[in-house]
């Protein structure tokens, strides 16, 4: 006899946590949610706010697909609770540019074919914007290293490097 439940026999099942109001500022807009503390920022975006541009690739901070910018800094939205991000300025891929008005990184990703399936792409682009905000990466080697928090299983890395490098260079030119 073997089981994997976190509940011991005879132990009562704890009730789900109560929900409360959580206020988030996303892409410049105030959004109000009725959620319990256990909702991650990633799930808040995808499941409650229909902002599905931010992707879930592992839910454990091991792939970078969920990268968003919080106060201009890139983070993994799967490893923070929505309730922890009240008062913060959150920027998702939807806040960077639109199909009609692409952000320079989005245009560079298209020009350099820096993606295939596209699933890691919003995270790559948000990460690249974070990299540019940080201002630490200039050479190819530095960009490679500081873009290494975003896995691309299709293997578009050389094109991602080219796209990011182009925008980094344009910023510093």
């Amino acid at each position: 006899m073997l089981h994997q439940s976190t509940k011991a026999p005879g132990e009562a099942v704890a009730a789900p946590p109560p929900t409360g109001t959580v206020r988030l500022t996303i892409n410049g807009q105030q959004r109000e949610l009725q959620i319990a503390p256990w909702t991650t920022l990633l799930d808040a975006l995808r499941e409650y706010l229909d902002l599905t541009g931010t992707k879930k690739g592992c839910d454990h901070g091991q792939c970078g697909a969920c990268t968003v910018l919080v106060n201009g800094k890139r983070i993994n939205s799967c490893l923070t609770l929505a309730v922890m991000q009240e008062d913060a300025e959150i920027t998702t891929i939807e806040g960077l540019g639109t199909q009609e008005n692409l952000h320079p990184l989005q245009q560079a990703f298209i020009d350099h074919d820096a993606f295939q399936c596209g699933y890691c792409t919003p995270g790559q682009i948000c990460s690249a914007q974070g990299l540019i905000n940080e201002g630490k990466a200039h050479t190819e080697a530095e960009i490679r290293e500081l873009m290494s928090g975003n896995i691309c299983r299709c293997g578009a890395y050389t094109n991602i490097l080219a796209a990011v490098k182009e925008v980094v260079d344009a910023k510093t030119a």
């Binding site: 256990w38 970078g64 983070i75 993994n76 490893l79 309730v83 922890m84 630490k136 490679r144 928090g149």
Partner: protein, 340 residues
């Protein structure tokens, strides 16, 4: 993930009080490891005390000429801090060798010390693990233990500590500042983490309810001769197979002071003072480095899949010391000469 409530503390005392009044609660700083483990049902706190509003993010000089890192300073802010970069580049390097830019933006310096092992069995609730469930057995012994300990392990647990930052902190002899229900105290870094012994469920020597508030770095930063050498299965975004923090003070070719700490080999950052003593007063030569390396692995014990680490540790130590002595850096590191 279990059911839990959340409260946000605005002062250290509030946080400590909140923690003591909620049984089975946990502090949450960056959350990068805690939420990961909660999603795996490994950690199951019923209440989280949110720390991100505490005023513990500053990095400032201490009266004795050292540097104090606020417990909630992020790993990224610490690694890129000008004082840290110029005076404690070993620490900066070690932090940048770990995790990813995103995680370093979230993870806090205090939280880095609280990281739990990457042992597969600890993470998988379908398997026995003494660290997760005391008394259930150690699956890693006799299992797939390539990433496991070769030093200081016990029959109860052969897990390793996963941090890079902590290896540098061990070498630099940092001090951990904590606040708890019984007031404030400091803990020497080497006494902070534990070996598994018969209580592998305890990673460190914090008392119940204690909160890390800061880390003090002593004045001496070994900013000239240091290396953080990290060997891993991919170039970035991977835990260390083995890492070495080496710091030397040289007068001419003679080593006047030395620090040596290893990651990926034990349940805690593995500092070897005896090996350091073998270096002090000696010429900075390959022979000297080899003697120190041999000393470090003297009591090492390999398991089915990790015996290679004994030889690898020796070679990594020799390489790290050589690089430190030459004042060159870890070859794979791309940031050393690129301060714009």
């Amino acid at each position: 993930m279990n059911s839990f409530t959340y409260s946000r503390a605005t002062a250290v005392e509030d946080a400590v009080r909140e923690k003591s009044t909620h049984p089975d609660s946990a502090y949450i700083g960056g959350g990068t490891n805690l939420l990961d483990l909660m999603k795996e049902n490994v950690e199951r706190p019923v209440h989280l005390v949110g720390l991100n509003k505490l005023p513990l993010t500053t990095i400032e000089p201490t009266p004795d000429g050292g540097l104090r890192l606020g417990a909630l300073a992020t790993n990224a802010d610490t690694a890129w801090n000008e004082e840290v970069k110029s005076r404690y580049p070993l620490l900066s390097q070690a932090i940048l060798a770990g995790a990813s830019p995103q995680l370093r933006n979230m993870a806090t310096d205090g939280g880095n010390l609280m990281q739990r092992t990457r042992c597969y069995y600890f993470y998988d609730t379908a398997t026995p693990c003494n660290k997760r469930e005391p008394g259930s057995g150690c699956s890693a012994i006799g299992g797939y233990n390539r990433i496991h300990a070769i030093l200081g392990a016990s029959e109860q647990c052969i897990a390793t500590h996963p941090s890079d930052m902590c290896i540098a902190l061990a070498a630099l002899e940092a001090t951990v500042r904590v606040s708890g229900p019984n007031g404030d105290r400091t803990i020497a870094f080497e006494d902070f983490h534990r070996l598994p012994g018969n209580t592998p469920e305890r990673d460190n020597n914090l008392e119940p309810g204690e909160l890390i508030t800061g880390l003090d770095l002593p004045a001496k930063g070994f900013e000239k001769n240091f290396t953080y050498l990290k060997l891993r299965d991919r170039t970035s975004y991977a835990f260390a197979v083995i890492s070495v923090a080496a710091a030397l003070e040289l007068e001419g070719d003679t080593i006047t002071d030395a620090r040596l700490a290893l990651g990926g080999v034990a349940h805690k950052p593995w500092r070897d003072k005896e090996a350091e003593n073998l270096l002090k007063g000696q010429p900075a030569t390959a022979d000297t480095f080899r003697r120190a390396a041999a000393k470090v692995v003297e009591g090492a014990h390999g398991y089915e899949h990790n015996t290679f680490k004994i030889e690898l540790a020796k070679r990594a130590i020799v390489r790290a010391l050589k690089q430190a002595a030459e004042g060159t850096q870890q070859a794979s590191d791309v940031f050393l000469n690129s301060n714009p």
